[in-house]
């Protein structure tokens, strides 16, 4: 049903709901409370939705994410063009997926299960925020008329003058900032920081007019503690174009941060599962022949004991100087030797032991590789050898791919790089496993081995790690989406769809970039570029 409510006298907001034409979560029902205040239009495809957005006819989008790709493309398009805020309805009650929508730019995310309870409130919240933003943009801060709206906001709203002193803070801002009394006139300029050594965000806005949208930062609370927040800042300019202050809208991200670490953990577990399967198999082969050899060696021992018994009997007969007994014992020895095939046993004994030793040596190596790979990570930034990180990761995933891949390495000499090694190894592993799977698809058809080429280079002030494969390649239409959370073309169970988005996040967190080039049928190259650190490694 196409729902459309309108009352002539109310300032009506325009909400567009994008959902598949079949029965889904009862979005319209969840929005009943808004009847009279909003017009609601339900569309079934992204194109129509984006056309409405482009025409500036939409105040808020509600995206039913049962069609993930469509919801992602709408989100990406509106984020690019500064379109209306979007609330995503996630079909699954899964924290990782919800978090991914926030990361993809959703203003809010409600699971299908929560729709009856929470959708109405979420929409009101977004509309209030939007109104507040516009009111502030309006010029004279518009405080009088919109005060009520601002007080009701679940988001924190802060207005500061040119010196960074607080002109207005709504109750949510007071709560997050942890103020005991009024914040009016307090200095807020230095309270929002995106990084240790960076100029505080509000000061940047006040000084240079910089705008931030959904930046992640830490806020210093009144008691000196800090909390993670997502913050948008914009300068306020008078109608004559003079800068008169700044406005900041922020949300407490403590919960979201927890969700994110949960999602990262999920992804890590998926990688570890893959890793464990590969390692298990690599150990299994030498185990196979050691196990069989030990069984045979036990038989050889029995054979030798039997023959040795005859040798003892022969010695006793010889000592008793009984020629008849000696002759019998010698014959018995010959028979036993023959039965046990003792010549073969003696020849094969040392061979079986040597081969088993080789096998156990191989297992020892595998365990050593595992140790190198998981080398006690303190979770702190350290200076590490990227070539070694790449090598130890390749060693670990090698067993699962050696049947279809030849590995080429071309490393430059690199200085130690300041990084979180375990995180980078996780990125390398994701990229290597993807490369392997891309090759596996080709090899399945042709039977020829593929190539994965690893290279490291110094290019100016950056280190560039390239991982190239001769796999199937990525079609152009997928290329721009491969870093999106949950975007996957792998069969169910083969990938979480989080590998590349997690990798992207990790590389970004290192101040680096992750890029991709691909040609279907030829192969794919991922390039990871990290800043060379000027800091010398700490003396140990």
């Amino acid at each position: 049903m196409r729902g459309s409510h309108r009352e002539e006298d109310a300032p009506s907001v325009r909400i567009v709901v994008v959902q598949p034409p079949d029965h889904g979560p009862r979005v319209a029902r969840g929005l009943e409370a808004l009847a009279g205040r909003a017009t609601l239009e339900i569309v079934h495809d992204a194109r129509r939705c984006l056309a409405r957005c482009d025409a500036g006819e939409v105040d808020l989008l509600v995206l039913d994410a049962r069609r993930r790709a469509e919801a992602q493309s709408v989100l990406a398009a509106t984020a690019r063009s500064g379109g209306p805020p979007a609330i995503v309805i996630e079909p699954e009650s899964d924290d990782a997926r919800v978090l991914a929508w926030y990361r993809a730019g959703a203003a809010d995310c409600v699971t299908a299960e929560e729709v009856p309870k929470r959708l109405g409130a979420a929409v009101s919240e977004q509309l209030a925020r939007d109104r507040a933003r516009r009111a502030v943009r309006g010029g004279d801060l518009g405080l009088a008329g919109n005060r009520e709206v601002m007080e009701q906001l679940n988001s924190a709203l802060l207005v500061v003058d040119l010196e960074g002193r607080i002109v207005y803070a709504n109750p949510t801002a007071e709560q997050i900032l942890g103020a005991e009394g009024s914040l009016h006139g307090a200095d807020a300029g230095k309270r929002f920081r995106a990084g240790e050594d960076q100029e505080p965000l509000l000061l940047r806005t006040l000084r240079a007019g910089e705008r931030f949208k959904g930046a992640e930062a830490l806020v210093t609370r009144a008691d000196g503690s800090s909390a993670p927040i997502g913050i948008s800042c914009a300068p306020i300019t008078s109608p004559e174009g003079r800068r008169s202050g700044a406005v900041a809208i922020f949300q407490d991200l403590s919960e979201v941060t927890q969700r994110r670490s949960h999602a990262l953990q999920t992804e890590k577990l998926a990688s570890i599962g893959q890793l464990a399967a590969g390692v298990a198999h690599e150990i299994n082969n030498p185990m196979g022949f050691i196990h069989a050899n030990l069984f045979q060696l036990a038989e050889y021992a029995e054979d030798l004991q039997r023959v040795w018994g005859r040798v003892e009997a022969l010695r006793r007969a010889a000592e008793a100087s009984d020629p008849g007994a000696v002759r019998d014992a010698a014959r018995a020895l010959a028979v036993a030797s023959e039965e046990s095939d003792i010549d073969f046993v003696l020849g094969d004994l040392s061979k079986a032991i040597r081969e088993s030793q080789e096998g156990s040596e191989r297992i020892r190596h595998i365990v050593q590789d595992l140790r190198d790979f998981s080398h006690q990570d303190t979770g702190e930034r350290v200076f590490a050898d990227l070539n070694q990180c790449l090598d130890s990761t390749a060693n670990i995933v090698w067993p699962m791919m050696k049947h279809v891949v030849t590995l080429e390495k071309d490393y430059a000499e690199l200085p130690p790089i300041g990084c979180y090694p375990m995180q980078l190894k996780q990125v390398f592993m994701n990229l290597l496993v993807n490369a392997f799977q891309a090759i596996e698809e080709v090899v399945g058809e042709s039977g020829e081995l593929g190539t994965i080429a690893l290279s490291t280079r110094i290019e100016g002030e950056r280190v560039v790690v390239a991982i190239r494969d001769t796999g199937v390649g990525i079609p152009a239409e997928h290329l721009e989406r491969i870093f999106d959370p949950f975007f996957t073309t792998k069969r169910v169970g083969a990938g979480t769809g989080l590998g590349l988005s997690t990798s992207f996040g990790i590389v970004q967190g290192h101040g680096g970039t992750l890029s991709v080039e691909s040609e279907p049928g030829k192969g794919t190259t991922f390039r990871l570029s990290l800043p060379l650190d000027a800091e010398p490694p700490a003396a140990s």
Partner: protein, 133 residues
């Protein structure tokens, strides 16, 4: 046609140490054993020898055991085909059935179970091909 000769067993595995250990396990069994470290070598044996039993690894460079056994089924349908692998859980049982594979043996193998599986296979072979020697 008499069956005085021992049964011919072809074993294919890309891991030489596995071949060596299998030979050891089966040294007292009544088979004439040919081993191959690659499908190319194994094909050569198939061409020159009247192979009765084939035991193949699964994950190998460039070819899987299932693919190789499919080839054997086409070239020498009377040979009994078996798989020996550490990846038993990834083998599609439907493919095993479709290709008429007699047994899938897990690595590491139990000595007695391996011998018994081969004996059973040999017995059926004897029954199918007329009275065994």
């Amino acid at each position: 046609m008499s069956r005085e000769r021992p049964l011919i067993l072809l074993i294919l595995d890309d891991e030489a140490r596995i071949l060596s250990a299998l030979r050891r396990s089966l040294r007292r069994e009544p088979y004439e054993i040919f081993t191959a470290e690659s499908a190319v070598e194994a094909r050569r044996v198939l061409e020159t020898e009247a192979v009765d039993l084939v035991l193949s690894d699964h994950k190998m460079p460039g070819i899987t055991g299932l693919q190789f056994l499919e080839e054997v089924a086409a070239r020498r349908p009377e040979a009994v085909r078996m798989l020996i692998t550490g990846w038993t859980e990834t083998i599609d049982p439907n493919a095993v059935e479709a290709l008429g594979i007699r047994a899938v043996i897990a690595k590491p193998w139990e000595d007695a179970a391996l011998k018994e599986t081969l004996r059973m296979a040999a017995k059926e072979l004897g029954a199918g091909a007329g009275p065994a020697a």
